[in-house]
Amino acid sequence: MMVLRRLLRKRWVLGVVFGLSLIYFLTSTLKQEERSTRDRTLLEVKDTDHRIPWKVRFNLGNSSRQMTQCRNSIQGKTLLTDELGYVCERKNLLVNGCCNVNAPSSRQYICKSCLANGCCSIYEYCVSCCLQPDKQRLLERFLNRAAEGFQNLFTAVEDHFELCLAKCRTSSQSVQHENTYRNPQAKYCYGESPPELLPV
């Protein structure tokens, strides 16, 4: 016992013990952070001061830049929106995935069918409208405040285009009584508020 007591009196021993526990503490907390990136729970405790680590990068340069390869909205029946915000018919899609800018029907940043509350009746126009540079502030506000319950989705979004693709899709915000749209006419929303509830 005496040996132990003596040993404990030594400052360096205590320092080592402290150091070890500090290392253990740090590794375990870091480990947990790491896991929380992999296992996401939708309904985490929401505190108002908590800033979500958005990865979204907005392209601040002018969007008329030349792209060699474009991502586009893939799914459309007849229309597609590319990442530069052009909406075109499928037949005017270039091999690199971009819309043919010279085609007469191709239009950039078009808000056709969109209402004042940011809800549109055609998905492709919603994405195009959402890609307008001036919508950036609205989207940032949405990400910071209105994105409750969407953290899984919107923390995985990487840039403006992905954000718009994801934001315009119908979601839990689009329905009432689960199995009906709040507004079947304008259900694709880039704005902060859910579609306006239509009376039955």
Binding site: L8, L43, Q75, A166, S172, Y181, P184
Partner: protein, 1065 residues
Amino acid sequence: MLLLPVWVSMLFGLLVGFLPLVGMEPMGAVKFDSDHTLNPKPLLSSSESNCSQLTLKVEFSSKVVEHEYIIGFTGYFSAKARSLYISSALRNAADEGLEWHIVPRENPASDFPSDFELVHICQASSSSLRTLEDHPYIKRVTKQRKVFPPESAAPCNNTQVTQKWQSWQSSRPFRRTSLSLGSGFWHATGRHSSRRLLRAIPRHVAQILQADVLWQMGHTGSGVKVAVFDTGLSEKHPHFKNVKERTNWTNEKTLDDGLGHGTFVAGVIASMRECQGFAPDSELHIFRVFTNNQVSYTSWFLDAFNYAILKKIDVLNLSIGGPDFMDHPFVDKVWELTANRVIMVSAIGNDGPLYGTLNNPADQMDVIGVGGIDFEDNIARFSSRGMTTWELPWGYGRVKPDIVTYGSGVRGSGMKEGCRSLSGTSVASPVVAGAVTLLASTVLNRELVNPASMKQALIASARRLPGVNMFEQGHGKLDLIRAYQILNSYRPQASLSPSYIDLTECPYMWPYCSQPIYYGGMPTIVNVTILNGMGVTGRIVDKPIWQPYLPQNGDHIDVAVSHSPVLWPWSGYLAVSISVAKKAASWEGIAQGHVIVTVASPAENDVGSELTSTVKLPIKVKIVPTPPRSKRVLWDQYHNLRYPPGYFPRDNLRMKNDPLDWNGDHIHTNFRDMYQHLRSMGYFVEVLGAPLTCFDASQYGTLLMVDSEEEYFPEEITKLRRDIDNGLSLIIFSDWYNTSVMRKVKFYDENTRQWWMPDTGGANVPALNDLISVWGMAFSDGLYEGDFTLADHDMYYASGCSIARFPEDGIVIAKKLKDQGLEVLKQETAVVEGVPILGLYQTPSDGGGRIVLYGDSNCIDDSHRQKDCFWLLDALLQYTSYSMTPSSLSHSHSRVAAPTGNERLLPQRLEGNHLYRYSKVLEAHLGDPKPRPLPACPHLSWAKPQPVNETAPSNLWKHQKLLSVDLDKVALPHAKVYRPQVRPLSPGESGAWDIPGGIMPGRYNQEVGQTIPVFAFLGAMVVLSFFVVQLTKVKSKPKRRKPRVKRPTYLQQQQTMTTGKNPTV
């Protein structure tokens, strides 16, 4: 290294599977003759279409072997252990002088553990057998059966469970050396009802489907992203090596699986040890969308689906389903996923063997809908049957499921570890999802893999099960190796499902083959699905072309084709209506021809150009001369409404767990048995999908209106009166309608989070009363139930109404029944004497028709039927069609004077009902809903025939495969309310739902996990501050006092460490 155990277990599997053959009568090389001959006879003679000439060729009988019993165990045990269990179970019985011994099985498999034992017991009493069965490790005791070759032709069984006959291809080696097509022992699609012993096969489904062949070639699903939408998965499950991500979309704060459903499903897809999955190297994305109470909402799914699109998931398994195909947000989202190239695989539902029980989303065109079979290739009883009911009443249902695979007693991962076996279509779905994942990883050019091409490959390669119709098996049983071959020689193209229309082929093309077509009949509609592997969108170029084969009387039929304006996503419909030309009104024979469809999609590699693909749809029909009016029965489909979208309650109020009427009320869904019966009696049954104003009454003997929920246009009422005056007869099977009971059966729907009030009763009695009031008839609002005897037949009246008013000269039968209304409303039992339930009436006008009313439809409906009354329907049709008054009814003791209906008020429509929302007749108006204007009758534009001088092969099926895929040339190296679809297991089946007790609530864990860092940090701060204090003390205080203060420090540190060590989340 991995392959050795695989081979050993495979060999073991074969041996055990082979075992039942040993010690039995030699089976002989009986080969199943799949080349069927055409049946020129009208199907009138066959009482059940499932019993075709196909199945009559090879027949066996079986006999119980005396004193020999098969004892099935709950698991696999060694010979010694099995002997021990049996002797311990029979110890008491042995004291009473029971003699028994184990029948030795001398075969190589006897060294391996087995789950059954053959025991010889002399004079076994039922009590001794019961003691055996009571033993904890003994699952069942069955009598040994011996199989004999045929002695005499066995009659066809007209039962729900159809007899299945086996083909035994014993001429082939029982080993997997090289893989030529069709050599797979496990793919022998024949079976025999007596051969139950095959249950002893260790059911490693991946190996049974020959996934090991692809594994050996180095394909293990790597690089393919699979999403499992289910109950979650625990973090450190030993079976999974590549769980990329787990996400939770429920209101429970856990990612772990508390039920075992999601773990099982994930295991079938990607387990790497014990019970192996198909694609162990695939990237698993676990989406927890069900709570431990099996609750889920559309909104959770929508958000989770969006995430799956963002993550670019390749294959998505949905072992879930519900009847609500009108849930537009959900259905649209599934389309959206498919449009984003996500291959959707879903379980068809566990509501079989009833027809019309398909679940959404598996019933969608773009989704691969999977049905279940057992290991003897019988369609599993629980597996939901087609057709789709979206298209009713105007059109006709699509063929679903798409394919079937093993879904009964399949082994998969247990919740924490180990394996267990489960049954259900949610088991079959991951089998296909796993296979699809594995297949996708074999394709070099991944661009070619899309929802359509994958489905095309699975469908084209599937092996058809003999004796099973297309609404049960779809295209047949999954064949992984053939799908591999097709996919790897695939070129983008369009294809059709079904790929041909042979209305003579029985039983596969049931119900088409059950009734030939004739001039003047309602057009026969075949709803074909177009799969377009060329692109997410497509269109049909010009108009489909109808080319009748002149040598084969193709000009005797007229064909009309309608199709989706845009084929999206990756699919569309092609509705083919077939009618007999006037010139063949009295002709009998077979007519053939084909429809040519050209599909075009924008080419991705070439701006402005299109890919095109031309598909030929062969058509073959049997034409008979138009039957006489008396033999023709018209079924009114137009006035049948169902769930979804509205709440239309069950016709039988005792069925509380299935409150909705959702099977379509069609002669090919839940009135299938009635249809079959009428066919066997020689009646021709046609379906009216339009208002009553749209048919020529002079053609039909009887109009059958069963369980109608819809209202009637005023024009319909007038027309029907005129028709009946002119000789049409009418049979109405009504049902209950009582506003108090309707208010009582409202319920809170968990899924839509709102109260549901029925919009009608079992039938819309007030509407029916409007229709029949002119003859002085009416149904009451009474609600009766009970057993009775009518004309020496046992009958059951399940929640029906009574006749309130009937003409004096009619025949009225009354019975003693229980007042179920009183029971539902006040929980009192009262028996009412003389309830008028059946009425027969001959209208007075010259040549006028007859009218029959019966107050309950349950006895002709397949769903929840207890006793059928097809005999009564026969008698009533005899009366309506031939004016033959059944003496058993007219001279019955139960005959009473016609009720005048003055004592009781007739039922009134429930105030505030929302029927107008779902009605084709009513529309909302200020005040009461009013009828809409009468819609125009459907008009078909017949395709202009372009006759060709061609002849079609006699067997259309064999010649309809995918273009440019020659299987022989592809060389093979030698070398799987939304609710989880697990059905409750029946007794005697292993692996029940073991809902675990004592699971830590996820919420608790989550909270502890989040508070730990805070505590640890505080602890560390305390230590740090202590040290700071200590350092300052060192300089001022004497050294001796230190030890006393230091001790708590040490303890403090220890505490910090222990709290820090609890990172369990």
